[in-house]
Amino acid sequence: MSSGTILEIRGGGVTLGGRPILRDLDLTVEAGDVVAVLGANGSGKSTLVRSITGLLPLSAGSARLFGQPIETFDQWPRLGYVPQRSPIAQGVPATVTEVVAAGRLAHRRPFLPARAADRAAVTAALEAVGLADRAHHQVSTLSGGQQQRVLIARTLAGSPELLVLDEPNAGVDLVSQQAIADTLESSARAGATIVVVLHELGAFAPFIRRAIVLREGRITYDGSPDGVQAHDPHVHCETTSGPALRIAPLTGVLGEELP
């Protein structure tokens, strides 16, 4: 797949409604990296994901995606975004295939019908997440975990080089968590670069090679996933040493430690 630097943020900052969410962010992601973004709720994980996919503008610093300034980025077929929550099951009914086919639009031109390659990519993506037998089901009849897999299939259908996922495990049953982890592991093995926001490593632990920890909008740790816990008590994650119960310290609304 691709080589070299995929994502480069220098002194990045994001402000939402006048409030700084991300500050002084320096982050480089190389081709083939599999990066977990960890951190407590409100630490800026989702904001980071939304700014590297171009959905939120940077208020400070600069970001380059595939060597192109993020403001003018247009190599959409190379980018694959999986949102945390999506309104795919709301409103007018839609089939699983229809939603997943939206993932091919970066490759398609308006007014032209889908080609055989588009249809094959949709089928392959549904097989990858184990939902091939649900292709013609209505999305809203699927479980939350299956809907999350539909979102991942939609992104995989576009065969992106960089996958950016926002908490793919949130509110997802164990079967789907494992299916999602397996899918991403094979994408990583095939050479995809992955940036995934996680609450805990869980089923992803075996193939995550790098973890960054966000705290109050800053990166407080960047390195091997094994070293995460020692650096930040806010992150409870299961590493290869085995699952353990860790309660994050209570944190007040302003981020100060409560007694």
């Binding site: 171009g54 009914p93 229809e98 993932g103 639009l105 970066a106 009849t141 119960l245």
Partner: protein
């Protein structure tokens, strides 16, 4: 008995009803998906200003209505997208501005008030051939764009943020839906009237989505429902002395009411048929590894409720107390 249906004014009415019935639900499907079901109503009210301008200046009210409706629809979309007003508040602002402006203008037009009636309530039996050609062509453009741009318009209406990351110009497609809605309203105002226009955009979609599993299927089903309601409404009005516009809307509503119980049943059956995805039954086996302590509250192992008992997570396994030993769960 059928002779009245072959009268020239009836043929024109039936053609106008058919194209309106097909085009309105096509656009309506996108509006319903975007939770802008009442947008058609808002545009209809703005169009009153357009019609009044036409009556006042002596130009074709259809043309002025199209122009004003498009300006209004784009303004609604701009207000909504800028976040300065939510969708429904944006609608209300423009909705009443357009209606009040139109009523004010029409009062300057002498007997325009009477002419306005035929636009508010429809006047499908008095269409000229030019009216039918203009409405028909506009409706065909709306249908063609709604169908050929379905993948793009669906993606934008279904998940705006994601659509952005596939390189789709979300503002462009949103404005396009608004413009299509404005054109449809201007076409449909001669058929059902501006006050009832929204019904033809929304009701067939509500009917179709009870049965359809997919977006395309909903749209095509809604177009069929719209076509049936419009044509049968006109035919009924030809034999019984009732206003065609209101008849079309009531037939569409009746279609919804009759199919609703079937739709509810179908939906329940469909949900009941969805198989549960169960994890493979974990093997239960006796654990022989030594335990230095009795699992219990506060033993330091994560406790997980599991049916009628509690498992303790121990070295990546779930242990359940069973007699004097632990079972793997």
């Amino acid at each position: 008995m059928t002779s009245i249906l072959l009268a020239p004014f009836m043929i024109k009415a039936l053609i106008a009803a058919a194209v309106t019935g097909l085009a309105s639900p096509a656009v309506g499907t996108y509006l319903v998906q975007r939770r802008l079901a009442l947008m058609g109503d808002g545009i209809g009210h703005i169009s009153v200003t357009g019609v009044a301008l036409g009556l006042l200046t002596g130009t074709s009210p259809t043309i002025t209505a199209v122009v004003v409706a498009i300006i209004g629809a784009v303004a609604i979309e701009a207000l909504r997208a800028s976040g300065r007003a939510s969708g429904d508040v944006a609608l209300a602002l423009i909705f009443y501005g357009g209606l009040a402006g139109g009523l004010m203008l029409v009062s300057f037009a002498g007997n325009g008030a009477l002419a306005l009636q035929s636009y508010l309530f429809g006047s499908i039996t008095t269409l000229s051939t030019t009216d039918v050609v203009v409405s028909g062509s506009l409706a065909l453009v709306v249908i063609a764009l709604s169908l050929t741009l379905l993948p793009q318009l669906f993606s934008v209406a279904n998940d705006e943020d994601y659509a952005r990351t596939t390189g789709l110009s979300v503002p462009l497609y949103n404005v396009l839906v608004s413009v299509l809605a404005a054109v449809t309203v201007s076409v449909a105002m001669r058929t059902v009237g501006l006050l009832l226009v929204s019904a033809l955009l929304v009701i067939p979609v509500a009917t179709a989505q009870q049965f359809a599993r997919g977006f395309r299927a909903t749209m095509l089903g809604a177009m069929v429902a719209g076509l049936l309601a419009s044509v049968s409404g006109v035919v009924i009005a030809a034999y019984v002395d009732v206003p065609p516009g209101a008849t079309i809307v009531l037939v569409a509503l009746a279609g919804f009411a009759v199919t609703a119980p079937v739709g509810v049943l179908l939906g329940k059956r469909r949900l009941a048929r969805v198989p549960f995805e169960m994890p493979e039954e974990p093997q239960q086996q006796r654990v022989t590894e030594p335990h230095r302590h009795q699992h219990g509250p506060g033993c330091g192992h994560l406790a997980v409720e599991h049916g009628d008992h509690i498992d303790y997570i121990h070295d990546g396994h779930r242990h359940a107390v069973h007699g004097g030993h632990y079972d793997e769960h």
